[in-house]
């Protein structure tokens, strides 16, 4: 027997639970902690201490305030006539479905409430109706509020006599009854609906000057801003009306005309037959000039060919 024993080289032991090298971090527990942490963080951020409300946008408003905003959009549109701007503003409300139809629905709602009891509310709803009708929409406001349509066209027949001059005297007497003035009735058809509007009221501004107290200054311009002389202007007030023409003060402007108001009276300015809506009432109310003098408010009104 040999004393020497040959030993096999030690075989590597399989890694066991207690022999594996230890990492500083336990990845499974880290992930578990992460998930729980995210949950806790979201709960705190959404439920316990949410972001304070700021920079609220129109679409976040309550239904009632959305309607207020919508009415304001319509008022803005009535003033500037900018359809793109109005539609963009409507889109900011994120109204469900077609935004134009949403205007019709809002008008319907407002028309069925006490909102239209005031002139202001009624005017606003009518403006909404005009807006959505132009876009081909309809709503129940159309039936709830009788439209402010133009009166039906009626024809008035005015019979005007045609004058016939007396014949010069002749030496030969003529039988009685011949040569007398005769009047031939000629029917004249006067439509009560004005022709298509060709002038629009583009601006009204006020000023207060002692040397031009209580004056309505009217400028009528063509599409390029040049004055149009000879244009008839009509001013109406409670107890009467007056017409005058542009161009009588060419030193001011070819399209200029003015009218003196009486204190305490409201006036409407329009171009007869060419303006579908007169100005709002221009009130001759007292004002104080920059020098401290008392005067009556004056107005500058601009019509432009449309």
């Amino acid at each position: 027997m040999s004393d020497s024993v040959t030993l096999d080289p030690p075989r590597p032991q399989p890694a066991r639970k207690y022999t594996r090298p230890r990492h500083l971090i336990s990845w499974p527990l880290l992930v578990v902690g992460l998930v729980i942490g995210v949950g806790l963080g979201l709960f705190y951020a959404w439920a316990i201490d949410p972001v304070k409300e700021f920079d609220t946008e129109p679409w976040q408003l309550s239904d009632a305030d959305k309607r207020h905003y919508l009415v304001a959009i319509m008022l803005g549109y009535a003033y500037d006539g900018d359809l793109d701007r109005a539609v963009n503003r409507l889109l900011s409300l994120r109204l469900p479905g077609d935004p134009i139809q949403a205007v019709a629905d809002a008008a319907c709602y407002l028309a069925s409430t006490g909102y239209v009891d005031s002139n202001s509310g009624l005017r606003a709803v009518r403006q909404m109706m005009a807006f959505y009708r132009l876009q081909g929409k309809s709503g129940c406001a159309d039936t709830l509020l009788p439209a402010q349509d133009a009166p039906p066209t009626t024809v008035v027949e005015v019979v005007l006599p045609t004058a016939t001059f007396m014949p010069p005297p002749t030496k030969t007497p003529t039988p009685a009854g011949e040569g007398r003035p005769t009047s031939t009735p000629v029917p004249v058809v006067v439509p009560t609906v004005q022709p298509r509007t060709s002038f629009v009221l583009v601006n009204i501004s006020t000023f207060c000057r002692a040397d031009a107290s209580g004056v309505i200054e009217v400028n009528v311009q063509d599409g390029n801003g040049r004055g149009i002389p000879g244009q008839e202007i009509r001013v109406r007030w409670d107890s009467g009306s007056d017409t005058f023409f542009t161009g009588l003060k060419p030193e001011r402007d070819a399209g200029y005309a003015d009218f003196d108001m009486e204190a305490g009276t409201d006036y409407l300015v329009e171009i007869p037959g060419h303006s579908n809506s007169a100005s709002e009432p221009l009130a001759a109310v007292p004002c104080t000039t920059s020098d401290g003098e008392s005067a009556i408010t004056s107005y500058r009104v601009v019509f432009r060919a449309g």
Binding site: R22, L24, I25, S26, L29, L30, V31, V32, G33, L34, V35, I36, G37, V38, G39, L40, G41, L42, Y44, A45, W46, P50, V51, E53, F54, T56, E57, Q60, L61, S62, D65, H68, Y69, V71, A72, I73, L75, G76, A78, Y79, D80, R89, S118, N119, S120, R123, A124, V202, N203, S205, T206, F207, Q221, N224, R226, R252, Y256, E280, P281, V302
Partner: protein, 127 residues
Amino acid sequence: MIRFLLSLFAGLIVGIGLGLYLGWVQFPVEYIDSPASSLSPRYKDEYTVMVAAGYMADRDLTGVMQRLRVLGVENIPAFVQEVTERYITTSRDVDDVRPLVGLSEALGRLTPIMEPYRQVRLPGQSS
């Protein structure tokens, strides 16, 4: 055991931080049914301009007061004056400034800075 606790704690800390970021910054709570008084200043201004434009059309101060009251401002004339002067000093669109000046004047808040906008002249208008 300490290793486990450390990992769990580290995960929690990172997770809470991530959750707060997501909940406050990335996906904050979005409010609905908000009152008009909480509108952002930008939209309050825009609303005021639109109401002022409505005033230019109908000259109805009562309607103006009713419409601006929903913004929750205490002093409406002072608010309109402030918006108007801000629009002027920041050179905003004159088409927006003009109705604001008109409304400010109607509310008795015409200030010298607004004066030039009372008589905005159109191109070609000589007087």
